[in-house]
């Protein structure tokens, strides 16, 4: 069913869809949807913890909480017309009509502009509709009126948790200190602990929450759901808390829906789907659970199953952007083409090859030109990683590349506009295709390599490795075996290292899940990569595999490090300090000097003071020659030498930049051109080949490379380039077919050669070179 048709169908049912618990669950769902981004989402169930809840509303809440949905609807409905605008707003909200609720709150606030509680409640409405940035100002206004309004403070903490930064934690600590029994704050803190698998701490917080809820007669369902989550993280799928919750409210889908979040942030999509299935079984109207179930079935490549649950979700909640976005994406999937191939690999200490199917899901507009490179890198990755991690893939690998970044973003986190490049969902990986971004904006080959490495670390540990470890392995593999040479550490990460912002390894996951400063996720990626590289260099690569095995046995980082490396995590941290000192010590200790040199050098470039440029670049290179990003010394030196007329040195500078892993496509094209002028065609070809992994959608690139390979007799490579070139729909296809014909002729494939030369002549009947080859191939010399 297309998205348009359900749009029409669903609007009629909107007004009768129930409601309250489902509306509340949207908060949790937001946390799930954004977790991969390491951005926290609102964590509270807004209505539950309003200490000033109107008694009529409370009565309805209790009916709802006991699972009698129809009776709850009957209870809330008349309250929509309550003379109190605040009560009417709450009733509309409970019934799922958030627009009406918003309007009613607006009017209520106009009526009572000095009522802080009203503003706090209005803020909660924004929180529940995934708009924390609109919610936060309302909470702040409420707190200006009443600095002690805890309901506003907890609301603000929830809103701030959706953004990176330390303010939310600070606020939570403040609430916990002033109001140690506040259930809502305790739940938020417990969730933070669960996210980083600090299960004992989470349990302690939840026990306190339980005690406080009992004392205050607060509905304990959310506490039960989090208790069940903690049990699930301990691999106890038959939690007593699940039973308790269902006894309290048989239709309480959140007791499964909430734990699903923790499966998801640990990459356990199969398990999450199982749990979400249970959520919709006990509560068929849990639209958010249907939505998440659909989204995660899609991650497992079950497109039909995904469609079914997303359509159900849409039928009940047509305003859920995750559902709408993903349904739209499903429609666009028809524009994609599945290309099948087979990857061959051999495990260590075995003598036989094994195979695994690979499906490349590429947009029809770019499948032809991109597939040769996706296939080449994927097959190489499977062969490399299966051997390095002693792991045989058990299921087909699905590799999806999206030319539209927003489609990829929706595929990944159900919302457009995120900054991710690629994501691995078990055996399925999704990423931006090279055409999704401007040329040179990212090295797509490295991204693909990184995501493919995830498959092996995630699956080898049966999804039990911590986030930092799988990211660390992927970064380490990018540096060690990926298609881009060199170790690329951004300047802001170097600065963070210099400022001692690295986390202890046992807390490193929090750098991904709950960053406290803007670039902490990136810093954590690099730190994880450095740790894995260090383990490989100090103890040997196999120790990484052994750690995956330990994680699979459900050991945590402290235990795995102790078992495999024989040291404590504190000692590992000290080793990392030593490793950084050995490898980056020069630039870290002289970081400010280096930055000043780069800044002065770039000023000199602006002013065309070429002698100064060269002098400053040389000084900077003494400190950190590996820097190849924007403002690189090597590029500046190239410009300077070129301006001074010293072409040989200009080319050497550019070659050094390339050897360190520089990948700006226009500069690579220039380097290849210069090398060709020097007669160094093999080196020029090497440079052009490197462009394929950055910006392969260039007609000139494939044309030049194809001709180079043809000239040097590498006919298979030439065919790859020419076939890719045809996929880019070049203006003159006749020449391409002729070159393909030459390559086949060289491979003694006369039939394909003749067919291609005829295809060349189809486009260009007067093409003499093609005519000559046809005569030669057919032996017709008349």
């Amino acid at each position: 069913m297309s998205f348009k048709s359900i749009t029409t169908r669903q609007t009629d049912r909107r007004n009768v869809a129930p409601l309250r618990r489902t509306a509340l669950s949207a908060l949790v769902k937001a946390a799930v949807a954004t977790s991969i981004l390491s951005v926290a989402a609102p964590l509270v169930h807004a209505e539950e913890y309003d200490p000033n809840r109107n008694s009529q509303l409370l009565e309805c809440d209790q009916i709802y909480d006991r699972g009698d949905i129809d009776a709850a609807i009957s209870c809330y409905t008349p309250l929509k017309s309550d003379p109190s605008l605040a009560v009417a707003a709450e009733a509309a909200w409970a019934l799922g009509n958030t627009r009406q609720a918003n309007e009613l709150f607006r009017r209520a606030v106009q009526e009572q502009p000095n009522n802080p509680h009203l503003r706090a409640r209005w803020g909660r409405l924004f929180l529940s509709t995934h708009q924390p940035s609109s919610a936060a100002p309302l909470f702040r206004e409420a707190l200006l009126m009443d600095p002690n309004l805890v309901h506003a403070k907890t609301g603000l903490a929830a809103a701030l948790l959706s953004q990176p930064g330390a303010e939310a934690r600070k606020l939570l600590n403040e609430i916990a200190s002033d109001h140690p029994d506040n259930v809502e704050a305790l739940l938020m803190m417990a969730r933070l602990q669960l996210e980083t698998r600090n299960l004992d701490q989470a349990d302690q917080l939840l026990d306190r929450a339980l005690k406080s809820a009992e004392a205050s007669n607060i509905v304990p369902l959310d506490i039960y759901a989090l208790k069940a989550s903690a049990d699930m993280l301990r691999d106890n799928e038959n939690s007593q808390w699940t039973r308790k919750a269902l006894e309290y409210s048989p239709a309480y889908g959140d007791v499964f829906y909430v734990p699903a979040h923790y499966h998801l942030i640990n990459y356990r999509y199969v398990e999450a789907v199982d749990v979400l299935q249970k959520a919709v079984e006990v509560q068929p109207t849990h639209w958010s659970a249907h939505s998440q179930l659909g989204i995660n079935l899609l991650r497992l490549n079950d497109i039909e199953g995904a469609k079914k649950h997303l359509e159900i979700a849409y039928s009940g909640d047509p305003y859920d952007t995750a559902t709408v976005n993903t349904l739209k994406l499903l429609d666009t999937l028809e524009e994609y083409k599945d290309l099948d191939t087979i990857a061959t690999f051999r495990l260590p200490n075995t003598s036989n090859d094994a195979t695994v199917p690979v499906v490349m899901r590429l947009h029809k507009s770019e499948a032809k030109y991109l597939s040769p490179y996706v296939e080449e890198l994927t097959l190489k990755a499977v062969a490399t990683f299966s051997e390095r991690y002693d792991f045989a893939p058990q299921e087909p690998l699905i590799v999806e590349l999206f030319p539209n970044h927003d489609d990829f973003a929706v595929r990944t986190v159900s919302t457009p506009g995120v900054g991710l490049l690629g994501v691995a969902f078990g055996y399925l990986i999704a990423m931006d295709s090279p055409s999704a971004r401007a040329p040179g904006e990212f090295h797509w080959g490295s991204t693909l390599w990184h995501e493919l490495a995830h498959i092996f670390s995630i699956k080898k540990s049966n999804h039990r490795m911590p986030r930092w470890f799988t990211e660390g392995i992927s970064v380490y593999e990018e540096w060690a075996t990926g298609p881009l040479p060199g170790r690329h550490i951004p300047v802001d990460v170097l600065q963070a290292i210099q400022e001692n912002k690295l986390l202890p390894v046992k807390d490193l996951d929090s750098g991904f899940v709950r960053p406290t400063y803007p670039n902490q996720v990136n810093v954590s990626y690099m730190q994880a990569g450095l740790i894995c590289t260090m383990i490989s260099e100090f103890w040997g690569h196999d120790k990484l595999t052994e750690m995956l095995v330990e994680y699979e046995k459900r050991q945590d980082t402290t235990q795995a490090v102790r078992t495999v490396l024989g040291i404590s995590t504190e000692e590992l941290d000290r080793n990392l300090d030593r490793y950084i000192e050995m490898n980056l010590g020069t630039v870290i200790s002289q970081f400010d000097t280096w930055k000043e040199l780069i800044s002065s050098m770039n000023n000199a470039v602006q002013n065309k003071q070429w002698t100064t440029v060269i002098a400053l670049a040389n000084q900077a290179n003494d400190i950190y020659p590996e820097y190849v990003a924007s403002g690189s010394t090597w590029l500046a030196m190239h410009d300077a030498y070129e301006a001074n007329g010293d072409l040989a040195k200009a080319i050497t500078a550019l070659e050094t930049w390339f050897d360190y892993g520089g990948y700006q496509p226009d500069m690579l094209h220039q380097l290849a051109h210069r090398l060709r002028d020097q007669g160094r065609t093999d080196r020029a070809t090497e440079v052009l080949e490197a462009i394929n992994w950055v910006s392969p959608n260039s007609i000139d690139l494939h044309e030049r490379l194809g001709k180079d390979y043809l000239a040097r007799g590498d006919n298979e490579a030439a065919l790859r380039e020419f076939h890719s070139l045809l996929g880019l729909d070049p203006h003159d296809k006749s020449v391409v077919h002729l070159n393909i014909a030459y390559a086949y002729k060289n491979l003694n494939d006369k039939k394909r050669a003749t067919r291609n030369v005829l295809q060349a002549l189809e486009y260009a009947p007067f093409f003499r070179e093609a005519q000559d080859l046809l005569v030669e191939l057919t032996g017709d010399s008349s």
Binding site: H731, D732, S734, T754, E762, F766, L774, V775, T778
Partner: protein, 315 residues
């Protein structure tokens, strides 16, 4: 003498110098006439670009023109309204024109109602431009408006009006609202001056091939750079392939020496190939390629004879 009369005399003398004598009786042989007008640059950089483009187009046209005087280039201060008008008035008296190609290179503007080609002094608006073009009596007329906003002309210049002969219009933009300076003329010149545009490899570059090349290059540029394309070239009118705009190789060197019958045979075979291609989906694939192979081998044979005739004339 009044200033107006003096000006008119100057214009007439300029046009005479360009090889067109107003009022002179038509000559017997059909001519292909090309007019290239380089408009106002507005800045030094654009002025230089427009001059270079216009000159390159005129040079290419001269290489295939029967007479150099059939190619008229107006640019810089010469591209004034009164001069252009006088030029078209002069051309209106000729009855020997088979093919007329007019290129407008530069900036165009559009105020929501009317397109203007920017030139020194008063601009030429779309109505005036149409009037000028309608004056020229030619079997076929190609108008290339390689300016910003030139797409506005698509609604003004009627390419279906057979009273002015067969007409093809190429514009750099799809409508008048695409107002930024265009890349199209750069690729237009590239198409005219490189064999790469010659997709059928007959050593003759037609208006269709030029448009396809330039259009594809413009699209490719914005696609590669991930920029929102501010220009979308358009072509309107039938049989653009019948306008020969450039030639290269042996054909350029010695077309006159090649026996007409060989060229005719080549054309016949090419038409047969074209017919076969149009039926490709209805024919068994192997049978299609077998037939194509036979035709191509015959074509190759004729081509060899043409080459031999060309080489002989060179010797």
């Amino acid at each position: 003498m009044s200033r107006a009369k003096l000006k008119l005399l100057k214009i007439i003398s300029l046009i005479s110098a360009l090889g067109i004598a107003p009022g002179i009786a038509p000559i017997a042989n059909a001519a292909n006439v090309t007019v290239v007008i380089g408009g106002l640059g507005g800045s030094e950089a654009f002025a230089e670009k427009f001059d270079n483009y216009a000159t390159a187009i005129a040079d290419e046209a001269k290489r295939i023109a029967s007479a150099e005087t059939d190619v008229i280039l107006l640019h810089g201060s010469a591209a004034k309204k009164e001069i252009i008008t006088a030029l078209f008035d002069a051309l209106s008296t000729r009855t020997d024109i088979n093919s007329f190609n007019a290129y407008f290179i530069g900036h165009g503007s559009f105020d929501g109602r009317s397109y203007k080609f920017n030139i020194p002094g008063p601009d030429i608006n779309d109505t005036e431009l149409l009037e000028l073009l309608n004056k020229v009596k030619a079997q076929q007329q190609l108008i290339v408006a390689a300016t910003s906003s030139s797409g506005a002309l698509l609604e003004v210049i009627d390419t279906g009006d057979q009273t002015v002969g067969q007409r093809v219009l190429i514009t750099a933009t799809k409508n008048g609202r695409e107002k930024t300076a265009v890349l199209f003329p750069e690729y237009l010149v590239e198409a005219l001056t490189t064999p790469a545009a010659d997709t059928d490899k007959n050593e003759s570059i037609t208006a269709l091939e030029v448009f396809n090349y330039a259009n594809s290059a413009v699209e490719g540029y914005y696609e590669t750079e991930k920029l929102l394309a501010p220009e979308h070239p358009r072509m309107q009118g039938e049989n653009a392939e019948s306008f020969e705009l450039a030639r290269y190789g042996a054909l350029l060197a010695a077309r006159d020496q090649v026996p007409e019958e060989l060229l005719a045979t080549r054309e016949t075979l090419a038409n047969q190939v074209s017919t076969l291609r149009s039926r490709k989906d209805d024919i068994d694939e192997d049978e299609y390629f077998d037939t194509l192979q036979d035709l191509m081998l015959q074509l190759s044979d004729v081509q060899s004879q043409i080459d031999a005739a060309s080489e002989q004339s060179e010797n």
